[in-house]
Symmetry: C2
């Protein structure tokens, strides 16, 4: 596998990403950093096609990268430039600071990615799962009406109204609150199970039957917390890129929840997945650039960009990379180390 061939492959990808047209030997030969003739390039391109890195839409058209071609390009050939300080500042502004609630942080990241890349962005937030219940309150708010308040160590707050069959006396309420507090305080949201609540229902029912709706309410709130939140933003951007099948995009947007599993299958570090590589449902010619952020060392969610395979990886990857690092940093209260004038992960070209 020739050095020149790799250079040509990279050039083809770059050109194709830039123009969107199949790229021919002549176009490549005219690039500054290429000093061989079109004929030579033709030979090499034929070889690259043999190897499965390029393909021709039809005989007399230029070449287009196959997804193996993109794969090689992304993994080996491409050298994404590091962000300038201005770009970083811009991202920081869009993201928020350490006072920004975590939930908003990831939402902002999605919005930023959508705007900067003109692609769809997807974020998940599994943080509440890893946190522990730090407070449960039951507040009477009317005739037989109570509000349950559930707060986690990560700052998620959920509330729910709950109607009982009888009013609770002050003692009953206190009993209940103490009981719940003893059983739930400090328990990780992840550990909360149906059985636990069943047991608790049984326990409080022994004291007073009509308390069980409250336990059920708490159970439902904890379910809310446990399921990781997935947000797709800017899905409509996908409609305007004509590499993607409109019908597939619409189906995708409607079933965005299926993304969860795709995002779960992700290792740490930045990753690129193509639609056709994914067993689960995905858009045909799409590519997903995704990375997981961490909170205090623990994987806490992912953020990614979904676009056509023909996206500007050089541009997007640094964005995703920086945002994950930054979110990890902010969520960990500054513990997670982030290179201050961060090189992303690659040596400079040449």
């Amino acid at each position: 596998m020739d050095d020149r061939k790799l250079k040509i492959l990279a050039a083809v990808v770059d050109e194709y990403v830039r123009t969107g047209e199949p790229v021919g030997s002549k176009a490549i030969s005219q690039l500054e950093h290429i000093n061989v003739s079109a004929a030579t390039i033709r030979n090499d391109m034929a070889a690259l096609e043999q190897l499965g890195y390029l393909e021709q839409p039809h005989t007399s058209a230029g070449r287009v990268p196959t997804f193996q071609g993109y794969r090689l390009y992304i993994d080996e050939l491409m050298t994404p430039p590091s962000l300038t300080d201005e770009e970083k500042e811009r991202l920081d502004d869009m993201l928020g600071d350490s006072d920004t609630p975590e939930e908003l942080l990831v939402q902002n990241a999605a919005a930023a990615l959508t705007e900067l890349t003109q692609c769809a962005a997807v974020v998940t937030n599994a943080v509440p799962r890893f946190s522990v219940i730090s407070k449960v309150e039951v507040i009477p708010t009317g005739k037989r009406l109570y509000v349950i308040l559930l707060i986690t160590s990560s700052g998620s707050i959920k509330n729910k109204a709950c109607r009982l069959e009888f009013d609770l006396s002050h003692e009953q309420l206190e009993f209940f609150t103490r009981y719940i507090e003893e059983n739930l305080n400090g328990v990780s949201v992840d550990e909360l199970s149906e059985e636990m609540f069943d047991k608790m229902v049984a326990a409080v029912s022994a004291y007073m039957v009509s308390l069980s709706p409250l336990v059920k309410g708490i159970c439902e709130l904890s379910e809310d917390l446990r399921q990781q939140e997935l947000t797709l933003s800017g899905g409509e951007k996908l409609l305007s890129c004509d590499d993607l099948d409109k019908m597939e995009v619409v189906r995708f947007i409607e079933h965005k929840d299926d993304l969860s599993s795709m995002l779960e299958e992700t290792f740490s570090g930045i990753q690129v997945k193509f639609g056709q590589e994914s067993g689960t449902f995905a858009i045909g010619n799409s590519s997903l650039i995704v990375s997981k952020y961490r909170k205090s060392g623990r994987e806490a969610g992912s953020l990614g960009v979904i676009g056509p395979m023909r996206v500007d990886y050089k541009k997007i990857i640094p964005y995703v990379d920086y945002l994950t690092q930054r979110i990890s940093y902010l969520m960990s209260g500054g513990e997670e180390n982030i290179p201050p004038a961060a090189d992303t992960d690659s040596a400079p070209p040449d």
Copy 2:
């Protein structure tokens, strides 16, 4: 304006709604309830075109209603059938009962409309505005961290985390809670103003400066309550109808908040508005079928359907109509009168 011409106009609209193709004189003449020849219909259709109710996409095609045509059809010609009891039951099931929280009620209505009409549905809920503050709680949840809980008489619950500069002693907290309670309990959300909070900030600051973030937090929560909530559901349905410009739809979904003003300009009773009639931004060939529901006699929000101009008004109008009535009824605790076997608003045909 001939009686027959009106009949023909109605037939054209019906056929066009049914088939989506421009409709010709022959197709009309073959309808059962039309007993004149195609030639006669041609003459009438030419007249209707003159009057601005029909138009031809091109010379040798059938006719399509103009939006004036639709307007006349909807206002004068159409006779939507009343719902059957099964349909009403179905809607009742989807909507919920008197125990369903009001917020959920309108969400359910939106979901039902989306499903039944295969169009987008939009609902607003201004109820919280009309309710009064029934409870304010401040709950310490961590180091200098407090959660504010705001509950209204209509059952809306809002919470917000708030970080202070110092921890509050038990007495300080009690003072604050009592002060807020005295000043806000029973106050209508609508009456809450910036100035009121400014005054309160001044008052609590006199006692302890670092309390003011709490007041500000409450102020922000009240703003949340005050602004009417607008939900667009099933927006993606609009993408699959090819009468509508995809780009416009996308822009519309992104800026759905602009709908607020469109919905505000609405009188009581059911109404149909067309995209091109609306000064504010709207989708080109779209039509909005909207009606306001009331809570105890007061306008409390609207619900509507957005689709292409070519929608089945006969089907949709009764749905929207019934749902508004039903919501009004449920929200008013059964006071608002609803015709038990409700005729919608029109005499049966013929």
